[in-house]
């Protein structure tokens, strides 16, 4: 069967609206009747990715593909890129600025959480060009 493709633009700088894409995706996944646990994990992954695109990369696009046994979430931006991915993956590491911190972001737990809740996480990034974060979640039948 064809996979379902969902596309959500994510606006940069809009921390208040961040999270909209993940709630929309969640509603669609519920309509499909996917297991609640997978929906929750997908939603958390997508939310963290969205926040990162807003605070670190001035926005981007989230693409979601839903197949019979797998969800793929791909977050693409043309932001500054990540110079040291291993360092970025460490719990607590953050380069978030003061504004984001005032709003309660920048705990340095986003990427670690994405790794924890997705079954696979891949980061392609190039400094000055952008970042693509791809997450895969298996759907148990």
């Amino acid at each position: 069967m064809e996979t379902i493709k969902l596309v959500y633009p994510v606006d940069g700088g809009d921390l208040i609206e961040a999270g909209e894409a993940s709630s929309k995706m969640k509603l669609t996944l519920k309509r499909l009747g996917l297991p609640p646990d997978v929906i929750r994990r997908a939603s958390i992954c997508m939310y963290e990715g969205e926040i990162n695109m807003v605070i670190h990369a001035d926005g981007g696009e989230a693409q979601v593909e839903v197949g019979m046994d797998e969800i793929t979430i791909r977050m693409t931006d043309t932001g500054p890129g990540i110079p040291d991915v291993d360092q970025a993956m460490k719990e607590g590491f953050s380069t978030a600025g003061p504004t984001a911190r005032e709003l309660g972001f920048g705990a340095g737990m986003g990427l670690p959480n994405m790794k924890r809740y997705a079954d696979e996480l891949a980061i392609e990034t190039e400094v000055g060009r952008g970042t693509v974060v791809t997450m895969k979640l298996k759907i148990p039948s």
């Binding site: 069967m1 499909l32 009747g33 996917l34 939310y47």
Partner: protein
Amino acid sequence: MSKHAVVLEYKRCRGCTTCIKTCPTEAIRVRSGKAFILDDRCIDCGKCIRVCPHKAIKSVGDSLARLQEFDCCVALPEPALYGQFQNLDDINLVLNALLRIGFHRVYEVSRAAELLSDYNRQECLNAKDAAVPQISSSCPTVLRLIRMRYPRLIDHLTNAVMPMELAAILARREAAQATSLPPERIGVFAIVPCSAKATAARSPEVLKEPVLDGAFAIRDIYLRLLSPMRELCEEGVQLEPLISSGLTGVGWGVCGGETAARPGQQCVVVDGVENVIRMLGEIEDGRIPEAGFIELNACTQGCVGGCFTVENPYAARMRLGALMNRLPVSRNCFLFQGPDRNLAKFQRKITYTPAFLLDADRGAAMEKQLQIQDLENHLPGLHCGSCGAPSCHAFAEDVVMGRASVEDCIFRVRARMQHMAGPGEADEYLPAPFRRQQPPAAKGSEPSA
């Protein structure tokens, strides 16, 4: 008959489509000039009742004639009732007046709320293994939302019936003891602020059987109470001291009231159905980790904002506050003991009834989703409501689910008319908002970018 208390009066409905966009669960459609409600999606929030300009959507409380069916009738006033009256300084006046309009006894819902406050406080100390955050189970609209959309949150609900339900159980028992009548000869009626509670009275979410014999709307009872209340004042008689709750119980009539009885817990209080929906989504993803308890009220300011109330919610809140200042903290501390405590518990678990599922078979659901997206891509995205659905997406879903025909879209209608009329300016077949050409009169002041 639908189990919902929200109903449509067909003669009044003009099919204007005002209601379809305000429904938070997209449960209303208009077909052939009349609105109808998709029953399995309605959460009884009362939004449509408030917005219909032709007063065609109503909620049916019971008729007071039902009091004739019983030998002894007990009134169960919700605390929101007390906030409806100007210059009221003694709740006893309301309670005494209830005895003059056909009720034989009163049992305040705030009394049961007070017992539940006590109960919840002790339970949350004992239940260390309960799912955190706990979510209040006192607003039936919230229960319905969770049942339809948030399966993971079912276990977070506090295991406690609604105050009105506990009040009904205790009131019937008390009246049977006092009158020696068999329980079925006693009529127990709640006086409720909203359609959701009217529906819950006949079709409970967590009880095996209904415990109420009916529910009256606050606004209906309010009108009948005015003269007996005036008469009682004029007669200058000593009021019977019927009040049996303190400010803890009465406080449940406004948002924050339930929370006030949970000292030492980090609580979030939410009002308004859109805010509730947003909050449920966030709790589901664990985004408010520090919260211990979440109180959710579908109506603005809590039950004083219910669609059956008379006064605006803010004024009612102020009045209830003034009344509460005259009350002791509680009249029911430590009274709820022994086996009675089991009466407060859910009698059955809420089961997930996904009203939005496209198909029970996942493959079929995915197939439908693909068809919906495909069709949506061919719709204009105007969300104009001309098709009778709240948005182009909802319309595409209706078509794929067999609830509507694709030919109902206004742009399909245009194409058909154009076909019949021959070549001409397409604009002529469209209502003004959708025309491409601007008439000269509408030019002049361009909207600033």
